[in-house]
């Protein structure tokens, strides 16, 4: 076999109270797409951060092209030829796309030594085109959607022209088409002889794009092999030490009375003329490509954003929440899509994060007098989500991405909602927990809760929903019965190749 580009040997990383990596190995060759797989909290992102100089390993050795490496910061790593697209995108929201992409490695005019914005803009334009992205290089990052930001992060990594490109769950915020765009780029990088370390919880992606895999479990190295000589069950077994049933749970909808009626709901610049009904015990899927306006619709229903037109009725009564507090009182819960920005207060403990939406219930005259009740509440819902952490007292910041997502879920499921809105609830969580979340959502529906489910994963939408609302660029293009919906038909409405009026059921 070809000589390895990157060789990680016996690397260990200890955090207070937790051994994130315990004597792990990884070797990576040029022209190879290498999948790093493992449960939430297995230590994948920790290794990425070690490889990019964010963390310094407690012990162990790493070599790149035969030379031993140790980085003090990300710039070091970049100069050595390693770049990463981190799991949690973090950019400068007040700067433009171009400015973000060239942050830290601005181009200068060779003669005048001044920053050469013209060339940088052109390069950005070129990179965006190469990825077939419809993003203006001058637009501010704060005005981009989560998915678009992710794409910009990817473009940024590509602009650096590194030997080793690390992608930590790059597809978690992308829909089908963008994933394909991304894969095209990954393949071309591979042909250029670069090495790609690819982290994902989605097996179809791993089997689609990866050549080789390494599995971690609980910070330990479990094994490696060729993807082509493996299968999903083997990998799952290596990951979690047992096999699981990945089928979507069977859900026999017991549709009750109408709880929510949305009529001609519009918001300037985001979505227009959205109308649907929602019933007790129903799971209503909301599908569309990135930027279709799904999150904006549910945020408006929840009262975070204001509607510019249209009406809503909750149990027959007119309803227009002026803030989350209004809708929460009426029994609506929203699990937002962006866990770091909208879902968590990263500096607060898990306990305080989870109890935050229900403080009113835990309080007596505005005081949390009974810590035991609070702890019980937190434990009950946290354990249900199988959060992996050093304890409920640690700050949310220290958790792995998937475990943070579980905290956001735990935080909302205890509110006993009548309407539960889930915006990308399984983003970044591992197969086992994902199955548990699906199970749980069906349980809620069986208990009579009305569920709105947004997901960018078509199989999840098809597998879970009773009815599917499809959106395209802010317009509602169809309401389909799950029975008759197929991946093709839903996708057709999502990219709106079908006449819109005809389908407005």
């Amino acid at each position: 076999m070809q000589q390895a580009l990157l060789e990680v040997q016996n690397v260990t990383k200890v955090f207070p109270g937790i051994r994130a990596l315990d004597d792990v190995h990884l070797s990576l060759r040029r022209g190879e797409v290498h999948a790093l797989i493992g449960e939430n909290g297995a230590g994948k992102s920790t290794l990425v951060k070690i490889l990019t100089g964010v963390y310094i390993p407690t012990s162990g050795k790493m070599t790149l092209d035969g030379k031993e490496i140790s980085f003090k910061n990300a710039i070091d790593a970049q100069q050595a030829g390693i770049v990463a697209i981190h799991q949690e995108a973090s950019m400068f929201p007040e700067l433009s796309v171009t400015e973000n992409i060239f942050m830290g490695h601005h181009l200068r005019n060779p003669k005048t030594k001044k920053l050469d914005w013209k060339t940088m803009n052109e390069k950005t334009q070129g990179l965006l085109q190469r990825m077939q992205l419809d993003i203006n290089p001058d637009s501010f990052v704060k005005n981009l959607s989560v998915a678009q930001r992710h794409m910009v992060e990817i473009v940024k990594a590509l602009s650096l022209d590194a030997d080793l490109v690390i992608m930590d769950e790059p597809t978690s915020a992308l829909t089908g088409r963008e994933v394909e765009d991304l894969f095209r780029i990954v393949r071309s990088l591979k042909e250029e002889g670069k090495a790609i370390l690819f982290i994902s919880h989605k097996f179809d992606e791993i089997f689609d794009i990866c050549d080789y895999y390494t599995v971690f479990r609980d910070g330990q190295y479990i094994g490696e092999g060729k993807v082509a000589e493996s299968n999903e069950d083997t990998l799952i077994n290596m990951m979690i030490g047992r096999s699981i049933d990945q089928m979507y749970p069977h859900h026999e909808p017991k549709i009750g009375k109408k709880v929510l009626e949305v009529k001609h709901l519009s918001q300037l610049g985001a979505f227009k003329d959205i109308s649907f009904d929602l019933h007790e015990g129903e799971i209503l899927g909301l599908f569309g490509l990135v930027g279709a306006g799904r999150s904006e619709v549910v945020r408006t229903i929840f009262g975070i954003d204001k509607a510019s037109e249209g009406t809503m009725h909750l149990l027959g009564k007119p309803f227009m929440p002026r803030g989350a507090i209004d809708s929460m009182r009426k029994g609506i819960a929203l699990v937002p899509e962006d866990r770091q920005r909208q879902g968590l207060v990263l500096k607060m403990s898990l306990t305080h994060n989870i109890s935050l939406p229900v403080l009113t219930n835990l309080c007596w005259k505005g005081m949390v007098t009974n810590k035991k009740t609070e702890m019980q509440y937190v434990q009950e819902h946290g354990d249900q989500m199988e959060i992996k952490s050093a304890g409920y007292h640690v700050e949310a910041e220290t958790l792995s991405g998937g475990n943070q997502q579980k905290v956001v879920l735990a935080k909302w499921i205890g509110t006993n909602p009548k309407i539960l809105i889930l915006d990308e609830p399984t983003k970044g969580i591992d197969v086992a927990t994902k199955a548990a979340v699906h199970e749980f959502v069906c349980d809620m529906a069986d208990k009579g809760v009305a569920v709105i489910l947004i997901s960018s994963e078509l199989p999840e939408i098809l597998g879970m929903s009773d009815r599917i609302v499809v959106m395209h660029e802010g317009y509602q293009t169809a309401i389909l019965d799950a029975e008759e919906a197929t991946a093709e038909s839903v996708m057709r409405y999502a990219i709106a190749t079908v006449q819109m009026e005809a389908s407005n059921a």
């Binding site: 942050m103 975070i304 207060v345 990263l346 500096k347 935050l356 403080l359 005081m367």
Partner: protein, 333 residues
């Protein structure tokens, strides 16, 4: 697997600002006491504690504002206005009870804090700008109120001047009040819904909005607390120093901020605790008191305080460095 080695235990303990500060206090006390054994006499300790009582009250108010990712620069001016007001009330009605004067100070301070809070929350003016304005407005009002004159010791009633000094169970009223304030707000920050909401707003206002926290209310409340506590401090100040002058408590905001920063309160909001603030106050008190002992004139006081703020900020940054590094790395890709 938890790491149980001794060095990791020490690291963990030092990572907690409270423990680190306590240790630091002990460390600086040793040479001072060797130099001057009276430093740890009951009398001197009580002097230090009494000197620090007013600062601790004000620093707690400042703590809430900083925790919400704001800053209150107007504390010194609120103290001056309320101190002058209570002094003049006392001058006009010598029979009025000191307790009533405390409440008068709190009431006036509350209104001033409310004004700050409303400007910040509903006027959407950043706290630093708002209070940079009101620090001058309130100082100006103090001059207008007094007409530029002072209230001197013999114009005030005996009972008012004696109030902070009088003891109950061997402890001065001033110290009792500070202890009460500390206890109440310790409880408030840890167990009240509003307390938690201040942490949430300071830590991540967007996420707070998604759980229905009323941001405007929280912003008003923190300034209200700060104003009210400054009012109390003003009433105590005039009595303790037996005079009300227009320039009183000038620059006091620096000390309040210093106490918070020393106590490990995050300047960007969202983390910190009352115990840290109290220890920060104590630390400042010990250092200030120790200056004469090590033959440094009190004129060095502000210099030393500035130095301490810088060191504390550096410490805060260093303990945050891991996070900062992570952020930077992600930003640069």
């Amino acid at each position: 697997m938890p790491d149980l080695s001794f060095s990791s235990f020490v690291k963990k303990a030092l990572a907690r600002r409270e423990a680190a500060l306590t240790l630091l206090l002990v460390v600086i006390l040793v040479p001072i006491t060797i130099r001057s054994p009276q430093f740890l006499s009951a009398k001197n300790i009580s002097t230090i504690l009494n000197d620090m009582a007013i600062l601790s009250i004000v620093a707690i108010g400042e703590f809430y504002v900083i925790l919400s990712n704001g800053i209150d620069l107007s504390v010194g001016s609120i103290i001056a206005f309320t101190g002058m007001a209570t002094g003049m009330i006392n001058q006009a009605n010598p029979t009025v009870s000191p307790i009533l004067l405390m409440f008068a100070g709190m009431g006036i301070g509350m209104v001033m804090g409310l004004f700050n809070g409303v400007l910040v929350a509903y006027g959407k003016i950043p706290p630093i700008i708002t209070t940079l304005g009101t620090v001058n407005i309130y100082r100006g009002l103090t001059f207008l109120l007094s007409g530029g004159t002072w209230v001197t010791a013999h114009e005030m009633s005996e009972s008012y001047i004696a109030f902070p000094r009088n003891t109950f169970l061997g402890v001065s009223n001033l110290l009792w009040i500070a202890l009460l304030v500390i206890a109440v707000f310790y409880y408030f920050s840890r167990y009240s819904r509003t307390g938690r909401e201040v942490y949430a707003i300071g830590g991540n206002p967007t996420a707070a909005k998604f759980v229905g926290v009323n941001e405007n209310r929280v912003r008003v409340v923190v300034f209200l607390i700060s104003g009210t506590l400054c009012g109390l401090a003003g009433a105590l100040w005039t009595a303790r120093y037996a005079s009300a002058v227009n320039e009183m408590a000038t620059g006091f905001e620096m000390q309040a901020v210093a106490a918070c920063v020393l106590g490990g309160v995050n300047f960007a909001g969202g983390s910190g605790g009352i115990i840290g603030v109290v220890l920060g106050t104590l630390f400042l008190g010990v250092v200030t008191n120790a200056l004469p002992v090590i033959y440094l004139s009190v004129f060095w006081q502000t210099f030393v305080q500035g130095l301490i703020i810088l060191i504390a900020l550096t410490l805060n940054t260093m303990s945050d460095q891991r996070k900062t590094k992570k952020l930077l790395a992600q930003r640069r890709g």
